[in-house]
């Protein structure tokens, strides 16, 4: 029987060249298609990997709850340990119940918001963060199998979280509003001046391209304008903390504190479809009767 020697330079060199050529050709000639192929091929892999990911995320949450509810209280004196054992047990239970109650409150708020809004939304849990240091993203426990697709908006009842950039069959990657690569159409709620909300490198956000004559000032709220897909009009994005004149001198830009801290969010809603009123509905015109 012939043994394969993986360290033979000939095989290695040939494989390296073939891989490099395939990747280079694909990368230069068909970058979008190659990305699509890799993403589609990765969908089942993502499903498989999502199981250990969920398991570890569950254990991690459990340990975090335990730490918050029990381990942090283990500073009691040794002589009091016996007397306080029952109390600690009850405190641990109480903490778990509080955590459950808080989760129930959050989920009830999500459900309430979901019922009030006209669009279709899917609730999802955050199970992880970006696997690299280059982007600010969160990983959701729902994916293509649940109807999620790239470019869908993600929010909480408090406001915008970000938008989906990648999906596998069981998970989704959400680019946070605080990532410099994200861009969401926004407007200043009071003055109605429109602009583009981008993340900044220090973890906050800014509204760019505000008209020079705008009356926007610190304290004004910025909401989604609904002009570009993914988000309905009027969702809170953040509050202005400072206004600057941009280097080019044609526009103003405003620094924002995001309404939602994406780094610590636990449950979110994904906007699958918007309940966007038609032009006629917006103008108050009666609906046309169908010819039948």
């Amino acid at each position: 029987m012939r043994m394969v020697n993986f360290r033979t330079p000939y095989n290695t060199g040939r494989l390296v060249i073939v891989l490099a050529v395939v990747l280079l050709i694909g990368f230069l000639l068909l970058p979008t298609q190659l990305q699509g192929v890799l993403q589609r091929a990765g969908s089942p892999v993502g499903w498989v990997v999502s199981w250990p990911l969920r398991a570890v995320a569950g254990v991690s949450d459990g340990i975090a709850d335990l730490w918050a509810g029990y381990v942090a209280l283990r500073t009691v004196e040794a002589e009091n340990r016996a007397l306080r054992k029952e109390l600690e047990y009850l405190k641990g239970q109480n903490s778990q119940l509080r955590e459950a109650a808080a989760a129930t409150d959050r989920l009830a708020a999500l459900l309430d918001f979901k019922q009030q809004s006209g669009g279709t939304m899917v609730a999802a849990q955050v199970i992880g963060r970006d696997t690299g240091n280059w982007y600010r993203t969160i990983i959701l426990n729902k994916g293509e199998a649940d109807g999620l697709r790239p470019d869908m908006g993600v929010m909480t009842p408090a406001g915008v979280v970000g938008r989906i950039v990648k999906t596998t069959s069981a998970t989704s990657v959400v680019l946070l509003v605080t990532d410099p690569n994200n861009a969401i159409a926004g407007l200043v709620q009071r003055t109605r001046d429109e602009g583009i909300v981008e993340g900044t490198s220090n973890g906050s956000a800014r509204l760019k391209y505000i008209p020079m004559l705008s009356d926007a000032r610190p304290g004004d709220r910025v909401v989604t304008s609904g002009l570009v897909g993914g988000f309905p009009k009027g969702l809170a994005i953040g509050t202005i903390t400072a206004i600057h004149k941009e280097d080019e001198g044609l526009f103003l830009s405003a620094e924002l504190i995001p309404e939602v801290d994406g780094e610590h969010v636990e449950e979110v809603l994904v906007i699958q479809s918007l309940a966007v009123p038609s032009e006629g509905e917006r103008l108050g015109a009666p609906k046309a009767k169908s010819k039948s």
């Binding site: 330079p9 963060r129 280059w134």
Partner: protein, 166 residues
Amino acid sequence: MKVLVWSALIALMVPLQSVLLPYVKIAGVAPDIALVAACLAGLLGGELHGLLVGVTLGWVMSLFSAIDPVVAMGVKGAVGYAAGFAGRHVVYLSWPMLTVGIFFLSCLAGLATISWLALNGQQDLWRALRTVVLPEGILDALVGGALYRLLWSRFNVERWMAEYRT
């Protein structure tokens, strides 16, 4: 068997990187365990192993990140290949030397990534170099060096490498 072991390790590295390592971020930067794994795979198994493990890890990790999969595969694959090439030409590798090697490879990988991202206007090169590349290089080197030293002290790595390579 090797394929199964590596598949299981790769599947476990995703939750380790995305769930547990964010808790140990220093200045907003976490070590890149996939890069360390590609380095060690190259070192222990040679260029081909380093390349394959690097490319696979880059691809799988990119499924759970916003990064371009081709960039992640290319960078991690190159790191694994370079580590394998270096490992084949070094007679004895001490853990401090390996730590320095991983630091340089991590910095090179970071430079390649920010060069690509800067070309697309997605990153400020100098800021990224200061805030991501160098801290990540140090963390990767520390994690890789510690892991290698642990392996060296607990197992007969030389014999293991000889068996693994045949």
